[in-house]
Symmetry: C2
Subunit: 590 residues, 2 copies
């Protein structure tokens, strides 16, 4: 799951085809460390690995670093590159290494932590580093790079140790690739949903409300309502039903279901009364299973039962880890639990796949891949080979029957059953894990969920967990970036702004608004005393799809001069034609 467009701190694997890129980035990290220690003598060196997009190095510095320091470091790096010095790898006994790095406490810790008698060293120019190797032959081969940013980091992630300074660099084989990456970053920054959310007035994160608990303005609420309504309609059309189980339950339910042991850490703190403890729901499954049971004895003839709910769930993510809409504590899942017989898995999985494809394609997310996560040979999985085999066969059969490409990964299943995760690419080519379909072979038995089979005996149904958007908040965050804030007409909170040329056209503007609103469209009038061009510019900044300019001629003709967000000028059109055009565009989700 890609949750951020920042450079990733995960170590870059440098798979076979990418070995050269690995060596470039790794070597550049050493060259940067040389430049920093020359500029700030007494710097203590931590580690400096290659990563996706580039490299970083962590330092304990004698003074704080600012972005203004980066050009000097980069300039010194380019000198070392130009000098085309060799990288020389060697090994040394630990005792010798301890003497070499006597004033480098982090290196000493590393030496102690390594197994074996000796350690790797890499030297280039004047700089010697403790290093397991894989470098370029010479510094001149280092490729196109740019120092990007400064961040705080902790030695081995330990927050009790002093904070280190991390410098990030981007590096690619060619200048073209680097430029493309920087342009991509710029585009992503321009689309950042946190920035656009504020500029378009969609949502706010407010201290008084709490971290990770976004609140939505009328415009933001309209977009989330339209998204949820569309999913609800699609669910209804495909035979799903909706239930309502609220936000709070007795904590005992999670003890029964086993979620307390596994998910306690992501639950909000308990609400403790003298004789009762309540919890905000972090998931719906136990509530849906409890409702299923309370509805009475179920016959196989009633199955499958498909319970959907747009309940807002609450997960107590660390307050430092939340931000924007993609990392929240309140998440409104488009959750569904299907109770079915083992025979029905294939058909129900197909239904879920169709649901996912129909919804994502409406949002223009048509480039996706599916990962089928299967049982591994190791032990965390619930032990019932027969059920696993049957469920896996059903999923594979459904995927094949529907002609869906997928990648099967063994050992990635949930402990309770196999699952399919859908990774979709947005307009920037970034991949997001959105939808999930999971087969659950264990929870229903744990909560005593049953049905009477055709044989008159009691059986445990299979439970399928399914989410399409995942969570409304996160999906909206992704969509804001996907569309760059320019929502298609069906999703736009304001579909058209009526712009009266002068005050005397305000009455006609109001009539235009009323006429279009009666046709089910969302219309505002810009009555400010600004000039027309300023109003058009502001509507474009607000990414309103249609601008309807009205003056004397338009009022006389019962028309409006139509301009599109794209800049296209459609000239004067009768209101009836405007309505027809807009309604058609909405219906096609164009």
């Amino acid at each position: 799951m890609v949750t951020d467009i920042e450079l990733k701190a995960e170590e870059f694997s440098g798979a076979p085809g990418e070995d050269r890129l690995y060596r470039m980035r790794h070597s550049a990290a050493h060259i940067m460390a040389q430049a920093v220690t020359e500029m700030l003598p007494g710097s203590k060196l931590a580690i400096g690995p290659p990563i996706e997009y580039g490299f970083y190095y962590d330092f304990l510095l004698p003074r704080p670093l600012t972005p203004e320091d980066l050009p000097a470091i980069e300039a010194r790096m380019r000198e070392v590159v130009a000098a085309d010095v060799p990288f020389e790898e060697s090994r040394a006994p630990k005792d010798e290494a301890r003497r070499i790095f006597a004033d480098q406490p982090f290196k000493l810790e590393l030496i102690d932590s390594f197994e074996g008698e000796d350690v790797g060293l890499t030297r280039h120019d004047t700089f010697l580093d403790l290093c397991r190797g894989r470098h370029l032959d010479r510094s001149g081969e280092v490729g196109a790079f740019k120092l990007m940013s400064i961040a705080g980091a902790y030695w081995r992630g330990d927050e009790r140790r002093p904070q280190l300074t991390r410098i990030y660099g981007a590096l690619f084989s060619t200048q073209e690739e680097l430029d493309a990456h920087l342009a991509h970053l710029e585009e992503a920054r321009a689309r950042d949903h946190r920035r656009l959310g504020r500029e378009l007035g969609l949502f706010f994160l407010i201290d008084d409300i709490g971290p990770g608990l976004p609140v939505f303005t009328p415009k933001g609420e309209m977009v989330r309502h339209l998204m949820e309504s569309f999913v609800r309609e699609t669910q209804t059309k495909l035979g799903f039903q909706h239930v309502w189980t609220g936000n709070v339950v007795r904590e005992g339910l999670f003890h029964k279901s086993g979620h307390y042991d596994n998910y306690r850490d992501v639950m909000f703190p308990p609400m403790v009364d003298e004789d009762a403890v309540y919890r905000l729901k972090p998931m719906n499954c136990p509530s849906h299973m409890t409702l299923y049971k309370e509805m009475g004895v179920h016959s196989y003839r009633e199955l499958p039962l498909r319970f959907c709910e747009f309940a807002t769930l609450y997960r107590y993510e660390a307050s430092g880890a939340v931000g924007g809409l993609t990392r929240v504590r309140s998440l409104t899942q488009d959750d569904c639990h299907i109770f079915c017989t083992p025979d029905q898995i294939e058909e129900e999985f197909t239904r879920c796949l169709n649901m996912v494809r129909e919804v994502l394609s409406a949002f223009g997310m048509t480039d996706y891949r599916l990962q089928l996560s299967l049982k591994g040979s190791e032990g965390k999985y619930v032990q019932d080979e027969e059920k696993w085999d049957a469920a896996t066969r059903a999923l594979v059969a459904a995927l094949d029957a529907n002609g869906v490409q997928y990648e099967a990964v063994e050992g990635e299943a949930a402990f309770y059953g196999p699952k399919a995760d859908l990774m979709a690419k947005d307009a920037l080519g970034r991949e997001w894990q959105l939808s999930t379909i999971q087969i659950d072979l264990i929870q229903p038995a744990r909560l005593g969920v049953e049905y009477i089979g055709e044989d008159g005996q009691t059986h445990t149904p299979v439970l399928i967990h399914r989410a399409v958007m995942g969570a409304t908040e996160r999906f909206l965050g992704v969509m804001i970036e996907h569309y760059g804030g320019a929502f298609p007409l069906w999703l736009a909170p304001v579909q058209a702004v009526v712009i009266p040329i002068a005050d005397r056209h305000n009455d006609y503007a109001a009539r235009v608004q009323e006429t279009l609103q009666e046709a089910g469209l969302r219309i505002e009038v810009d009555r400010r005393t600004e000039r027309m061009n300023a109003k058009i510019r502001d509507a474009q900044i607000q990414k309103v799809p249609y601008m309807l300019v009205v003056g004397d001629r338009e009022a006389e003709a019962g028309a409006a001069a139509v301009r599109l967000r794209s800049g296209e000028d459609l000239k004067a059109m009768p209101l009836g034609e405007i309505i027809e055009r807009m309604r058609d565009e909405v219906a096609r989700k164009a």
Copy 2:
């Protein structure tokens, strides 16, 4: 607010016109007390007032009473009535009264609590009671009565004292009135939403979830969704906007807003983390005001802003006080906060009135009265005579302009401003307080909510709180009883059941279902192997509006034989005609 159809324990006022009824009921209570003390010597007498519908008396009895005891008590009462004995009222010094009631501890407590030197006594037949009077002349005039039920009660409501036994009786002037009352009770019992909710499979209250936290089945969710969608559509049409502020906020927000001091007792217990305390929201006002502020500096040109939200709120009512849908801990308010200038109060109040009338009339609640609650001369009210006068004038002007009848009650306003409450009668003539419109002259200032006026100065807007259904859960409870579970077509969770005559008609039944579903109707097929008549009977018990019976002839003709819930037989109709008829009925909310 009438929350229950049980006999009310509130004392019956016996207004002038009802003085005779008061005397009848009061006298009957004495006669019942005589019968009980004769049957169970040693009984200790508490109090026995006349109440709405009848009377009761509380006793501390030497043995538990069962419903089987009531006929004997009633028989003895009828003997005393037949004997037509006189009631004689007198007064006695307290000391003498203490001697008379020496073995009646509750009477002794009462004597001590009375002011003055002497107390009232009433004697009839062999029975003497401490009593302030207003009785019949003779027992023969007592009217038509019936002992109804036995309940537990506490002396002066004090739960630490031993529990008393309360016997309820119903009493009216004539047998016809008593019979009508008993029939009414029977009807109310048949419509009890708790019973119907279970029989129709709409909602459940489940121990594992928690008291006062109902969960809704697919059928129940559908009804609440239809209700809320209709209100939302109406709101949008009338110029209201919707926001989303979730279920949880930092407790500090309620300290700021002042709600913590006044409403702490109805809040769920806090969620306490090391460095943060969260609360479930018991109301939306502080969140809506916080959002208003965060949206930036507001100009008078933007006002009124009307923020609506269907947020589920949580109120920690005593677990013994919750039950069914009308007394819940989770309540989904159709809440709205209008931010406006003082000049806009009249227009906005009119808008709210129109909203209320449009929504309630769609639910067939057309018989209602409006109570205008005004400031009293006493002191709890916020001190700003000018604002109070202006707000009150605006409300009265709006009511007059709209020709709305109302009753003005001084001293009933909220501390923050005047309000209008709407009391509507259901199909049984019971009155429910549903909608409320409240002017708030104080909260916006407390939270620093502002706008820039036409004068360029900063002003505090008026806040109007408004709810139409009140809360979805409670309104649904009222609607279940109002309709007796037989929802009109637009609200019916299942609008038609297709009944195949034999298994060979199942395919055609599925086609009928599909055709009608594509027309936007909610259709089920009864595929059980039951006989046709049993299926029709079950559909009627489930109060499904349309039954569509299909056999060979219907399949051939592309038709269905239509029966209504009422029993009416419309014979075979082509599917197109059925769709047209049903859609028209839905559109008219008939």
